[in-house]
Every structure is written in structure tokens, then in C-alpha cells.
Symmetry: C2
Subunit: 139 residues, 2 copies
């Protein structure tokens, strides 16, 4: 898939997440918050802010990559529920959250945003979580 030049990852997304995999369309990243298993997909499309800024081929690839991310999350952590969302009220660069939710997580049943402070991973936790997720992603 050809992508326009000019894509750069928003610095706030870069600060809040860790790289996990580079997919056909998106950067797949792990949110640095041990409260929830939480992935973020960032399409490498310059200046995209909304899902409707993608063309039909990009949208199809995105839905395939959301599926891949959600299946990896489910296989790795067996969450009770998946939450998938493209919000972008604070960080305008288009990004899609894929979050595993459990009935004993600190925000349940509310959405995760703005509920409790993020709990950054320790280095050891981060290595372990990335390792588990990577085993459930296509090679």
C-alpha cells in the first residue's frame, strides 16, 4: 500500500505508548498503562484526523488490523469485553484504541478515559507484556 509522505507519530502518542509492531497500514503500540491491556493503532497517513479521512482501501486495511489487534489481545489476556474507539479529542492524530476490559478493572463499566491515572509498566512488566502480545501477532 503506498502511503503519502509526511507521516510522523504525534509526540503525545509517542510518549504514552511503546512500539509493538509495524503493520501494513498502522503502527501497533502498547499504551503504557498497566491498568488495562490496551493497544493503539496509528495509521501511517499524513494529516489524518478522522476515520473518514481514510480512503476505502485504507479503511478496509484498518478494520483488518483492528481485528488482528483485538484477537491478539483476547488470546493473550482473555478480557471480559473489548472496547474499540477512535476519539481524538485530545490528540488529533487519527488513532484507534483497542482495550481489554474486565469487571474488576478500575474503570469498569465506564470507559477508561479520564477515570484513574495511568499506571506505567515497570521495565520487567513491559518486556513480559510485549513478549506475550508478540506471540499472538502474525509473524
Amino acid at each position: 500500500m503506498s502511503l503519502p509522505a509526511g507521516y510522523t507519530l504525534d509526540p503525545r502518542l509517542a510518549d504514552d505508548t511503546h512500539p509493538l509492531a509495524s503493520l501494513d497500514l498502522c503502527e501497533l503500540r502498547l499504551m503504557d498503562d498497566a491498568n488495562y491491556p490496551w493497544l493503539v493503532l496509528v495509521p501511517r497517513v499524513a494529516d489524518a484526523r478522522e476515520l473518514i479521512d481514510l480512503d476505502a482501501a485504507q479503511r478496509r486495511t484498518l478494520t483488518d488490523e483492528i481485528d488482528l489487534a483485538a484477537r491478539a489481545l483476547r488470546a493473550a489476556f482473555q478480557p471480559f469485553k473489548l472496547n474499540v474507539a477512535a476519539l481524538g479529542n485530545l490528540v488529533p492524530q487519527l488513532h484507534v484504541h483497542v482495550i481489554g476490559r474486565n469487571q474488576d478493572d478500575p474503570a469498569w463499566p465506564a470507559p477508561v478515559w479520564g477515570r484513574v491515572a495511568a499506571r506505567p509498566y515497570s521495565p520487567e512488566q513491559l518486556v513480559e507484556r510485549i513478549s506475550v502480545l508478540t506471540r499472538h501477532l502474525p509473524a
Copy 2:
């Protein structure tokens, strides 16, 4: 597209929304909350709870219908931002929110869920809003 038998709209979704259009895959409905222009897409797929419960063809149709709903919302109301989300923590039937957000809306910049009580439309407002939206949907 063939759909499995057994689909029925969750009674809570039926209570909280008004019918707007029947698309190839989804029922398109208007959330009964005048705080935000807010559409809900409900795939007519029995027992679907997660996006990953859809097959690849259904996912592609859903992404097309999200696009259609979001474009109608933008054309009708020119929101500052679109929020698109499949959460389902309270109502398990798979449904996708497409919400127009503005910097002066009562939840901005937080997500809308759980912030302020819904403000149901008056009958006149409802007729007007449905009329405006319908003009921006494909015939």
C-alpha cells in the same frame, strides 16, 4: 448479504434510540440525547457482542456504514470532531457509536458516556433532526 436468523434489537438500545434507516448490515438509529448529534449502528447479526464476532465481509460492510453515518453527521451538523466507538460494557449487543463533538458540548473534551444526563428530544426537535439527517443519507 445473508444474515443469520435470530437478530432482535436489545430493548435498552430500542428505548434509548429512534430509528433512522435500515442499511445493508446495520440498523442506523439516532440516540435520544439532544446534547450531541449521536448516531448508533447496530449490525443485524444474532448474538454479536464484539467486532471480532463479525466475519470479514460483515466488517467491511460495517466500516462502509460507519463512513456513511459519519459523513451524514458531518454534513448535517459540522461537528468539530467525530468520535466512533464500540464499547458495549453496559449493553452487550454489538453497536457502534458515531458522535459529533463540539468544544462547547457538555462533556468536551472527555468522552460523552457517563458525563451528563441525556436530554431527550422534544417531538418537534426529533422530527427536525431526523429530517436533516435523512437528507444527508443515500436514498
